[in-house]
């Protein structure tokens, strides 16, 4: 008989356009299956807030939208493989995962 592993509680901070679109708080606490990955966090985000489906990653290819960035623990995790583990501090809820609109402009 397998051991039930509790999901992690991951803090996610959304940018203004997304938390206003989703009509939710800027910082969320999401239950994410372990091991905690970018794909798992976004799955949980989209399940909790379906208005965000397609806003962070392409709904067909699953790829991060080009002008969306993921930061945590002062690192840019945007190009981390979707199924790679996120830092322990994120999985433990000590540090938030920041969803950021990329800087663009002149």
């Amino acid at each position: 008989m397998g051991t039930q592993i509790d999901p992690a509680t991951v803090r996610v901070v959304l940018p203004y356009p997304l938390y206003t679109l989703a009509q939710c708080a800027a910082e969320l606490a999401l239950a994410v299956p372990r091991p905690v990955t970018l794909a798992g966090v976004i799955d949980a985000l989209e399940a909790a807030h379906p208005r965000l489906i397609g806003a962070v990653r392409d709904r067909t290819t699953g790829k991060r939208r080009p002008l969306v960035r993921f930061y945590a623990c002062q690192d840019d995790l945007s190009n981390l493989a979707p199924d790679a583990p996120l830092p322990d501090a994120v999985a433990a809820g000590r540090e938030p995962l920041l969803v950021v609109g990329a800087i663009a402009g002149g």
Partner: protein, 370 residues
């Protein structure tokens, strides 16, 4: 007493302008969806308080918003614009094949009879239809069979920007696509044919090719739906046989380049365009913002200037940014990339600015409410 509601899409949000039938005093509401590009807002003729808005962002993608109370409240509906089957490829700027990729909705065209049915023209160019109030979208894929593999985007992107529904024949639809041309369906979108005969475009290898013409806008009068007017990349054109053939009606225009076009609500031969200097100089000739009106279906054009800036004006008027109301004295409206929205309550003779300092205006549509 009738009221007017002007739906304005801008680079940084939507605005709703309302007035009584006099069209002198206006209330301005907005921005709605501040910070997002609103490519188009359109109201259902069958249920005028049903509005659809295309909300888009290069960062966060496409949202379709719907209001059922005339814009007081909005809710996102479906944004899944998945092409039918394997969409294949079109040509990229460098001539290489490029997979079809949804980018944004340029234009929404609600059905004249069913508030839950609405068409969406998208980039990369395709036509979608929803029959459930925008909750789900389904492509009409036969359009892309019209040499779609050879379509190549223009500088503004490969967008389907014009959708005309023939009010006398529910089976007949027209669409126009930048750098591809105009197309017609006579069976509700099941099959399509190019309708570009008579167009002459020096900027494509075969100036009289069946497809590849950069059509900027098509306009129709509902009482005479077989007559179409077209603002092409260059040239103002007319067809009297539902697009079967076109002939030029640029006549005495100071430039026949432009984007926006509209037909008077009650006079099928009265047409409006806004000449723009050239394909690289997207502003009015001589720095004078002039609407040109032909009262006889083209060729003979008069400049309408009263109330419009006649010096140092270098704004553009984009393809979806001109519209008319249907009051007995037809109102004409247009918005500029400088953020002004102008109204003429007398068919174009006199103009006033409703607002002057909005973000760049992408689209203007008008509802005449009872």
């Amino acid at each position: 007493m009738s009221r007017i509601r002007v739906l304005v899409g801008t680079r940084k949000g939507a605005f709703i302008l309302t007035s009584d039938a006099a069209r002198r005093d206006w209330q301005v509401a907005g921005p709605f969806f501040g910070g997002w590009e609103i490519f188009h807002i359109a109201g259902s003729p069958a249920h005028p308080d049903r509005l659809y808005a295309s909300q888009s962002s290069s960062w966060f993608g496409q949202v379709i918003q719907r209001s059922d109370d005339g814009g007081l409240s909005w809710n996102p509906v479906g944004n899944d614009f998945t092409y039918a089957g394997d969409p294949g490829t079109h040509l990229h700027y460098d001539g290489t094949p490029r997979p079809w990729e949804f980018k944004r909705v340029w234009h929404l065209e609600p059905s004249p009879t069913d508030p839950d049915t609405v068409y969406a023209g998208v980039e990369d160019a395709a036509l979608f239809r929803s029959t459930d109030g925008g909750a789900s979208w389904h492509e009409l894929p036969a359009l892309r069979e019209q040499q779609g593999a050879a379509w190549m985007p223009g500088a503004g992107g490969m967008c389907l920007h014009t959708i005309l529904l023939d009010p006398t024949n529910p089976q007949r639809l027209y669409v126009a696509i930048s750098a591809a041309g105009a197309f017609r369906s006579d069976d509700g979108g099941t099959s399509w044919r190019p309708i570009n005969r008579g167009l002459h475009s020096q900027y494509i290898p075969d100036p009289e090719a069946e497809v590849g013409h950069c059509v900027h806008r098509i306009a129709m009068h509902p009482a005479r739906p077989e007559t179409l007017f077209m603002q092409k990349h260059w040239d103002v054109m007319r067809s009297d046989d539902a697009g079967g053939s076109w002939f030029e009606v640029s006549g005495n225009l100071p430039s026949d380049f432009g984007f926006a076009m509209a037909v008077h609500a009650h006079e099928p031969d009265t047409v409006y365009v806004v000449p723009i200097l050239s394909d690289s100089e997207h502003y009015p000739p001589e720095g004078k913002l002039r609407v040109y009106r032909s009262k006889n279906g083209g060729n003979d054009w008069d400049a309408l200037t009263d109330g419009l800036p006649q010096q140092h004006c270098y704004v553009n008027v984009l393809r979806d940014a001109m519209a008319v109301d249907t009051l007995p004295e037809c109102g004409v409206y247009f918005g500029t990339t400088g953020g002004q929205v102008y109204v003429s309550a007398d068919s174009g003779d006199h103009w006033q600015a409703i607002v002057r300092d909005l973000p760049a205006v992408l689209s203007v549509s008008v509802q005449t409410l009872p």
